[in-house]
């Protein structure tokens, strides 16, 4: 497989092979699914909506609901205004959401549809809401679309009434429902009152009940999105993903913000806990200290199996940086760090991380792709691959174990329920990484070297 990937690197400035990103709208759809009783709406051709729902369904193994403006030839010539008007009417008539969150596509952006105008002119039933964001597929990536949609909710809905609510606004970054649950658990343990936007827990990891409901119990409520404007401060987790939303809230409602890396690994989780501590002025409870201590114990017990192992990490920018942090904490070397999402900040953050740990000879690349990463590995291999499902071809071709972390993971189950953030998440990552390396050792060693006790 993949014998087409030549070892020799060639100059490739335009052709994208095996991407590590997808387009903005799917990120916007994911964000909108994290709002309670919200119908994400794709303003474009029918295929976009269908592809995005399929993509999310394959990752979460749960229904992902969204509607489409279903553009035709006519709409592409005369604009999609009447499609959107009809869509809004139909959606409220039949699917009865509280709110519709419209995002655009490459087509509706290119023909210059004026979404603000269309929405102002649309007939919206009393008490119902329609918001939008622009998500041109030819800018940024799904990460861009994710934070654009969050900002869209804030722009339309968040208000500062002048009376503070004593809460922390939390932007969780582009993470799984399992991670959002873990963040909420830690905030509760720290006695922090919070509003989190979005919150896909209880939506894309909803329990099986024997009934299908279009709007499961989870998701940030509209009242809470409004109330974001009264928060004391906001905390954006994942600096490259959440700053834009935090900044939007500051501009609109004067809520000061702070950003931190995704709380993956020891130091990043420490920083998150300390930020909660500073905010709530509550002591760190023993339960959290105990988890941290367990993680220390595990890292110490297992350190000789991870020391100096080399790793290639690919995926979304903040996830890759977080994984690089924990990999370094485990004594491993993140030899290659690649994200498909464009943005020079990734390279800078990666360089700072390597400098902090005093590690040299690693390569980080934004706007990269898996084909190139595969070529690097062919020239100078690694011990472990960390990323989403699409790395499995490279893993097989080069016979390197793959630890599945990030988005999308379309060939395994359970992952979206389990956290990679917090000390608990770090314990889970340590187990995944150790199992991959130690299974490999068991598989590859000579008969006489097979160890019963490791």
């Amino acid at each position: 497989m993949l014998e087409l990937t030549p070892k020799k690197l060639s100059d490739r400035s335009t052709l994208r092979i095996n991407p590590i990103k997808t387009c903005q709208p799917v990120g916007a759809m994911y964000a909108a699914l994290g709002v309670h009783q919200c119908m994400p709406h794709s303003h474009g051709s029918q295929g976009c909506c269908s592809f995005h729902r399929m993509f999310l369904t394959r990752h979460f193994k749960d229904p992902a609901i969204a509607s489409s403006s279903s553009f035709t030839e006519g709409a592409s010539v005369f604009g999609g205004g009447s499609n959107l008007k009809t869509a809004i009417k139909n959606i409220f008539d039949i699917y009865d959401p509280e709110i519709i969150a419209v995002h655009t596509t490459c087509l509706s952006e290119t023909i210059g549809d004026d979404l603000s105008g269309y929405i102002q002119d649309a007939k919206v039933p009393e008490g119902k809401l329609v918001v939008h964001t622009n998500t041109p597929s030819y800018v940024g990536s799904h990460i861009t679309g994710y934070y654009n949609m969050i900002s869209g909710f804030i722009k339309y809905l968040s208000e500062s009434t002048g009376e503070k609510n004593g809460k922390l606004a939390l932007f969780p970054g582009f993470v799984n429902p399992g991670d959002m649950r873990e963040m909420k658990r830690l905030m509760k343990l720290m006695g922090t009152e919070f509003i989190m936007l979005p919150d896909t827990s209880g939506v894309l990891d909803a329990p099986m009940t024997g009934n299908y409901t279009m709007y499961p119990k989870g998701g940030t409520t509209i009242a809470d999105i409004r109330d974001l404007g009264n928060c004391e401060m906001s905390l954006g987790l994942g600096e490259l993903t959440s700053e834009f939303a935090a900044d939007t809230l500051e501009k609109k409602c004067k809520v000061p913000y702070k950003t931190l890396p995704l709380p993956i690994g020891v130091e990043n989780t420490d920083a998150f806990i300390m930020a909660l501590n500073q905010f709530s002025k509550n002591e760190v409870p023993y339960e959290i200290e105990e988890e941290r201590g367990q993680l220390m114990d595990i890292l110490l017990d297992s350190h000789q199996y991870t020391h100096n192992k080399t790793v290639a990490i690919f995926g979304d920018p903040d996830t890759v940086l977080g994984m690089a942090q924990i990999v370094l904490e485990m004594g491993m070397i993140p030899k290659y760090m690649v994200t498909g999402t464009p943005g020079a900040a990734f390279d800078r953050k990666a360089a700072a991380l390597l400098e902090k740990f005093g590690v040299e000879g690693c390569t980080a690349k934004q706007a990269g792709d898996l084909f190139e990463l595969h070529q690097w590995i062919k020239n100078d291999p690694v011990d472990l691959l960390i990323g989403g499902t699409h790395g499995k071809q490279v893993a097989r071709a080069e016979d390197i174990p793959l630890v599945r972390v990030g988005f999308p993971i379309i060939d395994r189950y359970v992952h979206s329920y389990m956290p990679i953030v917090g000390y608990k998440g770090a314990i889970r990552l340590a187990e995944l990484i150790l199992n991959a390396l130690m299974d490999r050792q068991d598989r590859d060693c000579e008969d006489e070297d097979l160890e019963m006790v490791m």
């Binding site: 092979i17 295929g47 399929m54 609901i65 139909n90 087509l107 290119t110 041109p136 099986m208 009940t209």
Partner: protein, 449 residues
Amino acid sequence: MKNDAAILPERAQSIRFSECSGDGIKCESASVSGAVSQRACVYCGARVVLNPITDAFHLVHGPIGCASYTWDIRGSLSSGEEGYRNSYSTDLRETDVIFGGEKKLVAAIDEIMASHAPKVIFIYATCIVGVIGDDIDAVCRNAEAKYGIRVIAVKSPGFSGTKKTGYKMACNAIMSLVTPDVLPEKTCGVNILGDFNLAGEMWIIKNYLRRIGVEVVANITGDAKVEDLKQAPTAQLNLVQCAGSMTYLAKQMEEAFSIPFIKVSFFGVTDTSDSLMRIAYAVGDKDVIKRAKAFIEEEKNRVIPLLNKYRKNLEGKKAAIYVGGGFKAISLIRQFHEFGMNTVMVGTQTGSKDDYEVISHLVDEDAVILDDANPAELEAFMKEMGADILVGGVKERPLAYKLGVAFCDHNHERKHPLAGYEGTLNFASEINLSMNSPVWEIIGGINNV
């Protein structure tokens, strides 16, 4: 849900209970704006048909999404080449949208040619390519002249029709690839149209044809290679399997290469046996007819007793079907009938009026028939009709599971080959496995607490 049956008034014409008479179902039209449709687009249709050509390069000209979403998602197996399992795109950016993407497309083709030697490159033009004014025909012409290979434009903007329009674009691309300057002599082989070698089904069918003495010239497009495809005009007969996508190509080949076609289906014992006999008679060779009869007899004797073992588990159960094309739906209804099961709901994304006509005659009077259904409709009717299992694709799977209904993927994610005699066994085994899994006991237990 405001409306009990969750039906948009505009959608009422696309749903019917089969006792209704009148002009038949409304189908082959654009989806209603605002509907949560399960349908895909023109690009998707074109890509799924051409993607199984294993030694072609599939270059998506447009922003990254369309290439990402279709990267190695169709379980079409290859007996050799793996190039089609990579994802190539021009990844258009904002500047390209402003200044045009032609230069980037030219450069991308150059970059492919610098390190590979493809025989054909398909250039898929997605939604915005026409809008920003790229002349991809010119780019393809120039690239063909420069490199001496086929570079074929597949104009498939998502808004320009339904998935079926995309099938046509793919068929046109295939015609462009296989049409020779001079029509060659006929051989006594057949082409197989509309099998995509999902889970290796093309191999099963080719093996059957070999057993009855019929040679296969070209597989279109499952496990196809460009050089084999180019031999297609020499065939004496076309076998059309996925009628929804390939009837159009068969008609073109009939006109251009004088190859007659017959429609076949290899889903279920009855359809497989009928199809093999019809192929044998169409080929017209006495020996082939004799061998076909013997082969069918032998396979039936082997398979039917095995199927009967499942039958006691399946008999009397109610099936719901939601698939892409009408022809597959028809085959599935027949197959469920063979298992002693009753189809209570049947829908398709792109079925034609003729398909729905046939369907309405195959199912019971109170069965529900839907075109381009949405999840709310599927939920409402599956519940109302008390379906025990749903046969569908990726988006329907979690819906069925949330309802506590068993499921079988008969689309890209099928786990085992479902065609032919062994496919029928696999199908029976799979639906038996899902319907009678111990998981239902646990779930039932929890729900009853």
